[in-house]
Symmetry: C4
Subunit: 179 residues, 4 copies
């Protein structure tokens, strides 16, 4: 990725690599979000059964595979013809990651593997955000077939929507106003 | 692995890379299975002695080495003459991983390092599956000398046979029928 | 990085690669320091809230990104025209890492997430060193625009200043004199 | 490392890569040994002070750096002129790793950071093997200046001498004879 030393105009060449930085940032935000959700799930987990471990392994598979579509995205993002395939494969990977987080979580709830006091703020935030994020990925993959370039930004917006703890921030703002 | 940007027909070129995807998937399934078995073993382990740590280190060696035969498999899978060597080396590596899981487990049982209540479902599943999987790897390596292309699929079948918790799934299906 | 086998004069070629070694050493020292600070913070943390986890994720982002500017530094360090950009990008990354360590720490103090007995030696060392290190990075980035080659050494000095536990060393020296 | 697909004689080419396999095996054995010693040290550690953490970081530095001399060794091992430099740099790295394990261990003993009951078998094995291994590395580096090719085998012997738990094996053999 680093421009060759002989090039006179390194700053300009680095600026041209923006698709690489964008792809890395979106992938980091998505995996970071998966990690946050995963830590919330494991925190409230009372015990794990054999099936939950396997579902978790499938989630891990799609996380471990993400660098490949990320490289594709970085290589084709400013390229008219090919970015459609890259953006679609990338979106399907993000959908699979979010999908398996949702499956792991719903399986744990269904089998009563979570501890009882799941009325906490971060559990509610997780359940209220998982399904909308899945729907968003499906919609954005559809948009990508028609307008590929826009979708990368939208994937970043979905990741940010998942990561930012709106309720906690709101509560803090209110509390600091009162005091 | 990513086709160059100038190529008109990226989708087709990506499809041609199927050996890479297949090799990655089989390796992921095998290491995932090793991890599941390893977590079952360590869960029921009461204590570890000096020899168990060394056997575990040897297991780790063969896991750490797997990416090399995986790359070989990906490079030679659609290549008549060379795929025999790649498939055999790959199979020997998978056999070594399963072999050392079996050695670690039998050593722990022999030295009474496991806790007493090893009548649990996942311990029984482990002991009942380890030896058949070892025999299967040996047989498939033999088949590979004669028909290399078939074996990769068979390695995937063995990994799936090890991963899928048939008894747990069966019990769940029965329980959901009753209720 | 390894010179080709045909080259007669490998020792000399290896010596010419000094920018690579310097860049690796400075990056290792900086990340090592971040890890030490991070372990002090988590040791005195009573609990983590949703926002602290996100701030920690942002810190992790800038740590995960550091290898890219490190490679740039290694490639351009002995190159008149281009080292200015490399040194500046590298410095901004180091500043971001230290900045987010400071943000995480001050947030934890502000929200009273740390345990009460934060009068320990390593907590005092952390609070007394964080802000000077931030100011130092800002100053050195400025120097880098004017004299790029000097700054790499200065970044190493800052990392060492952060890592070396002066008070503990001093105390040990005094104690060994008395006895 | 993987020979190109067009080559007729892949098996032969793979066999020619023996220096790569040897270098990987010796490095794995050395790092594996460092990990075993490290786990013995941390197991008997009562608490860690600021200086111990820094010494541990220096140990980690030399472990993280080892892949570079390993690659050098693999590239130059069958090459008359250049293998001397590769073997010497590699040996110095192994010496630094063992040296810092010894420093961490002696510091912990000196500062009484270890728990009292350090009369256990693995602690005695550690203290009785650390200093001979250091001396061996120094001697083998000297031999390497004169006969480079032999030393790689000697480094492997040192690692095996450190890893194999002679007393435990002996005790087991005696016990199984009696019963």
């Amino acid at each position: 990725m680093i421009p060759s030393v002989t090039s006179k105009d390194v700053g300009h060449k680095l600026a041209e690599q923006w698709p690489t930085y964008v792809a890395y940032l979106v992938s980091f935000a998505t995996i970071g979000n998966a990690w946050l959700n995963h830590s919330v799930i494991t925190e409230y987990l009372d015990r794990a059964d054999a099936i939950l471990l396997r579902l978790n392994l499938a989630l891990l598979f799609f996380v471990s595979v993400l660098p490949f579509p990320t490289h594709m995205l970085a290589a084709y993002l400013s390229n008219e013809g090919d970015e459609r395939i890259a953006v679609t494969v990338y979106g399907l990977n993000l959908l699979a990651i979010s999908g398996f987080i949702a499956i792991v979580w719903h399986y744990a709830l269904w089998q009563r593997l979570v501890t009882k006091d799941n009325s906490e703020a971060d559990v509610r935030a997780l359940t209220s955000k998982l399904d909308p994020s899945l729907a968003s990925y499906a919609v954005v993959i559809g948009i990508g077939l028609w307008r590929p370039a826009v979708t990368v930004g939208l994937y970043f917006v979905i990741a940010l929507f998942m990561i930012i703890p709106f309720r906690t921030v709101l509560r803090e703002v209110r509390r600091s106003r009162r005091s």
